[in-house]
Symmetry: C2
Subunit: 335 residues, 2 copies
């Protein structure tokens, strides 16, 4: 049964386990440093579908189906799905999962969604409300570009601070059993320091990461050195440097164990992604392709997974609004 820990952190005494997990990606993700670690790479950006949106839905289906299989389960054994994405009205999730026949609670936290789905799934599993649960999210470069920026055909120049939306999906099955455990979670508060540049979302999200990581460490009485890895979501080069600075002002020093999923997914020098990767699928696929396997093999024992999200829409940006950020922290342990 979940317990409150400090001000806002939730402790999950039963230790909900990640029974299965999977990551799938597109061609560019396959060519990146983690390419060989994905469960599947699709070289066709459409995955044989008619539209990019359908392709993104297919990514979610692929990731979730593989995670369920790796958990030794059938889809219909899932009691609940927590899923979300960047598309208007969460259509990648809704259309992607509509035929599964499993109760669905759509989650929206922009690129922080993987942390959100895992946190809520962990509470449902730990409390006995529903288990096992699926948690899945996705992004697709082509659906995101045309929705948030320009038609691809326009070939717009990208600024140095911009990030590259991952074509990827990550999925986990959370339940009672063996595996990496979710021990504590800390849900984010919206932070907005007034950044308005849609091409510098790392800077917009950094305050949220510093806020939630700081709260989590204070709530739990831990320090960064207690963790083998602290990985923010998709702050990229600009945002992760800012996050370090902001935490240091709270008296918290991040060491070499700190990295960002947006810096891991692509080779920034070779792959022309500017400040790094982004999108819900970025942190989700880095978690499932790269972090969880290392935890299962015992190379990492305690990890803070801290995906970050920028909560603006094209409408709010056109109206001159600043970009609010959010970050959720999920503590993962392998015993």
């Amino acid at each position: 049964m979940p317990k409150r820990c400090g001000l806002h952190t939730i402790r999950l005494p039963s230790g909900p386990a990640i029974l299965g997990y999977a990551a799938v990606g597109g061609k560019k993700e396959g060519e990146g440093p983690l390419g060989g670690q994905f469960d599947a790479i699709f070289r066709d950006a459409r995955l044989g579908q008619e539209t990019w949106e359908q392709a993104e839905s297919a990514l979610q289906r692929e990731a979730l189906s593989r995670a369920v299989t790796k958990a030794g389960l059938e889809t219909e054994e899932l009691q609940m799905l927590f899923a979300g994405d960047l598309l208007n009205q969460n259509i990648a999730s809704t259309y992607g999962l509509r035929e599964m026949g499993v109760p669905l609670l759509g989650q929206f936290g922009a690129c922080s969604t993987m942390g959100q789905t895992m946190a809520v799934a962990a509470v449902f599993v730990d409390s006995g409300a529903a288990a096992p649960c699926g948690a899945v999210t996705s992004s697709h470069f082509c659906t995101a570009e045309r929705q948030f920026r320009f038609p691809l055909e326009y070939g717009g120049q990208r600024t140095p601070t911009s990030q590259w939306t991952a074509t990827a999906s990550g999925a986990v099955v959370v339940g009672q059993g063996k595996g990496v455990r979710i021990r504590r979670v800390c849900v984010g508060r919206v932070q907005d320091l007034g950044v308005t540049d849609m091409n510098n979302m790392g800077a917009a999200m950094a305050p949220a990461a510093a806020d939630t990581i700081g709260r989590f460490l204070r709530d739990t009485g831990t320090v960064p050195g207690d963790y083998d890895l602290i990985a923010t979501g998709d702050l990229g080069a600009v945002g992760s440097a800012l996050c370090r600075q902001m935490l240091s002002r709270q008296g918290i020093t991040l060491g070499d164990n700190y990295t960002d999923c947006g810096l891991l997914l692509f080779d920034r020098q070779r792959q022309d992604v500017h400040a790094g990767g982004s999108g819900c699928g970025c942190s989700a696929s880095v978690l499932c392709a790269h972090i969880l396997p290392q935890m299962e093999q015992g190379q990492l024992k305690r990890v803070l997974f801290c995906p970050t999200g920028a909560l603006m829409s094209p409408t709010s940006s056109q109206q001159g609004e600043s970009i609010p950020g959010i970050c959720h922290v999920v503590e993962l342990v392998m015993e």
Copy 2:
């Protein structure tokens, strides 16, 4: 601690209570049959804001602040907020609640969102993960029309099956204490029978309502006659008639205790709303303005609140996709 009940229903033994609730609406809602029951009516569709989107955010802030005050609490005492709306990237919620400093989990279930936020909040409260929690949602006729249909200035003709998006917000504070209790919840599965007409969303959502209500009744061994009121979300005239038919094919007969929030909010003859009201704010405000007060006064003792959502986006509809529906059932009791 939540318990599984039947196949998919979740029982909440501690009986999380609705400690406070509030409904706010626009001019047309104020002129409807429930006008006098709202906590506040704003005759200015902009609520003094610069944009309709900001006005919708203000509706959420108003509803939630009033619910918190009626619960005898301060906003900062809330441990978690569950909020969502119809706007792309949930901006009504994000921007509306960003200054509250409370952890936020954005929920997306289209017009079913009030049921979803209440169900998840009830699990968090019952399990001890976070209490008290706020659950809030909104819609605004002007933001919805321009996002989903046409610019208002275009003055498009509306079909007889179309519904009128409510300018309204409803909010509840769920916690341990006195009040109407959330006893059981049943989360919806996506249902899609192939309806593609964006002007007939009642028909698109009816199968989801019949599915979740049917599952809830079977899981709990209850019949419609056990409830003083069964209120679907915003099926309107077309969808609620279909819902009756579909449940009757499952051997379930809805009696005079069945109604739909979309039929209650407006006077269909007098207010030119065609098949009825719709939008996240429709069922949320009918619940908070009309149903919960009757429960507190003892006029209604057992209620099934069953908001329904149509999960399409303009993109999916333009691509020829059908409209998936979803419905969540929340059982409310006053003892």
